[in-house]
Symmetry: C2
Subunit: 317 residues, 2 copies
């Protein structure tokens, strides 16, 4: 498995150490929450991809890990802000920041993390990379704004869904691989190739994440099942069900989600094969990412990226 | 008056034009709100100070106005986030963004603006300036986090208050003057001198702003009077009253603010001379800023900065 690779483990240890330093703040309760957020871990896929992207060029540990840290901080900032908006109470099994400290502090802590990420990037990056990353964040916000506008909308289309997850998730995956490569001196062509692979991995990742909201138990995913639907975020399985001949039934199931605990929705998703159909779309992205990765030149990162791609298929949390 | 100066008017017109471009976004309702926010104007003190800072070096219109735009965008982003936290319904007489579009979209629009500001800065700034600005935003967030933690606390001290407004307001004023100077090639010493002046102007500005919350009518300040107190943000006049022998009375007045519409609080503030005492502190900062500005070399900015400083004293909104 990719996480057992010695090189990657060594680099990720550096990332964790630098992350700890970068998350230092003088406010005690904020500090406590940030430490908790770091320790609760998560998969760290984005910094891992940044490092792997770097292996396709002249890998410089200091520069690539610093960039990986900045990208993980951006991710953390968006997590904190997302949790406020979605009012997610639990993440990775522990209380979210706005639940613990209130919305106000959570909004500012997210802002604080964005500024920290930029400080970190300004420490070593040229302005071009800066621009790419800023543009990436703007896209992420666009995706989140879309998601917010489409909330509780039963007419969200497949296309709108793809665009939305493209912004809110895939952009940062793309940025991770591409910026790692760029920092290691890869040319524009190679960096964008890796960016496209990152985007496809991100798309697959988010679709599978969305599926898990229907199929997982709270204990494994670290947040309540059906959380998205309850928050009015209708993801691919729901969109498929709404597009089927069971449209009316799906609409009713959505409206009674809190009353019946998702029983009707589970039934209609089964009838419409919506989960399987969604999984197929995720598989398409996985195949695309796989194919393009196979075409890459040899590098430590190549096998590991393939491994990450394959692992998405069997992901349970 | 400083706003009648031809040079400044010309530069500020460029700022407005660039601001309009920088605030473009594909989401229609967000676009509408951003346009409204730009058109509602405000004093634009921060970009004005950036431009004036630039006149102490070799002024380059293109570079300094682009920086001024970035700083105003950062200010707008913090305004949007502040209004969410304080649940301010009106700003400059019109509905705030989260009131119009909901908290979710307002959080992301703030984030979007931060990323836009960084894109703008990355377009022309060197990484050092980038770092200073990122650090500035981190301080602003620190100030806001403090304010949130001190909310409804009747034991907030004078020192805590100064630190808090130093972060939430004065830092960006300092950054405006200093970065403008820096961008125009002033040396570190001159830039920091201007930064200190900016900080003092910012301190005076915020104290006066806080006083106006008690003395203004809704129609002139564009938001309801006593808004701070209602939101649990206890500013200098309240802190003075709480430190006086009328402590108990002040505490009671704070607790009944919504019931009696601020009648008791107004009485206790009068008895304790709290508004006048606060005004004296503002005057101290104004004197300091004045004195240091007088020591500056001749430049278009010198007289205009003095004029801005003096204007603070008589500010009614």
């Amino acid at each position: 498995m990719w996480m057992d690779n010695d090189f990657l483990q060594g680099e990720m240890q550096k990332v964790e150490e630098q992350l700890k330093k970068a998350l230092k703040t003088r406010n005690k309760s904020v500090q406590q929450e940030l430490t908790k957020l770091q320790q609760s871990g998560g998969k760290r896929l984005r910094p891992v991809l940044t490092i792997l992207g770097g292996t396709f060029g002249e890998y410089s540990s200091k520069e690539v890990t610093a960039l990986a840290v900045a990208i993980e901080i951006i991710h953390m900032a968006t997590l904190i802000h997302d949790d406020i908006i979605d009012d997610t109470k639990l993440r990775r099994g522990s209380e979210t920041m706005h639940t613990a400290l209130g919305n106000g502090i959570a909004v500012y802590t997210g802002d604080f993390l964005f500024s920290r990420a930029f400080m970190q990037i300004a420490d070593f990056a040229e302005t071009n990379l800066m621009k790419d990353i800023s543009k990436g964040i703007a896209y992420i916000c666009d995706g989140e704004i879309d998601q917010n506008e489409q909330r509780y909308s039963k007419s969200t289309t497949f296309k709108q869904y793809l665009k939305r997850i493209g912004g809110k998730t895939a952009v940062l995956f793309a940025l991770s691989l591409a910026s790692g490569a760029h920092k290691a001196g890869c040319n524009r062509k190679m960096s964008s190739k890796l960016g496209v692979i990152g985007k496809d991995i991100g798309m697959a990742f988010q679709i599978i994440d969305d599926i898990l909201d229907f199929t997982s138990k709270e204990c494994s995913i670290g947040k309540p099942a059906f959380n998205d639907v309850i928050q009015g975020v209708y993801t691919l399985p729901v969109i498929y069900a709404l597009e089927s001949k069971y449209k009316k039934e799906t609409e009713q199931a959505l409206d009674m989600i809190t009353e019946d605990g998702g029983k009707s929705l589970r039934e209609v998703l089964e009838k419409t094969d919506a989960i399987d159909k969604s999984r197929k779309i995720a598989m398409k992205y996985i195949e695309k990412a796989r194919k393009k990765t196979m075409e890459l030149p040899d590098a430590i990162g190549k096998e590991l990226i393939l491994n990450i791609i394959d692992q998405q298929i069997s992901r349970k949390f």
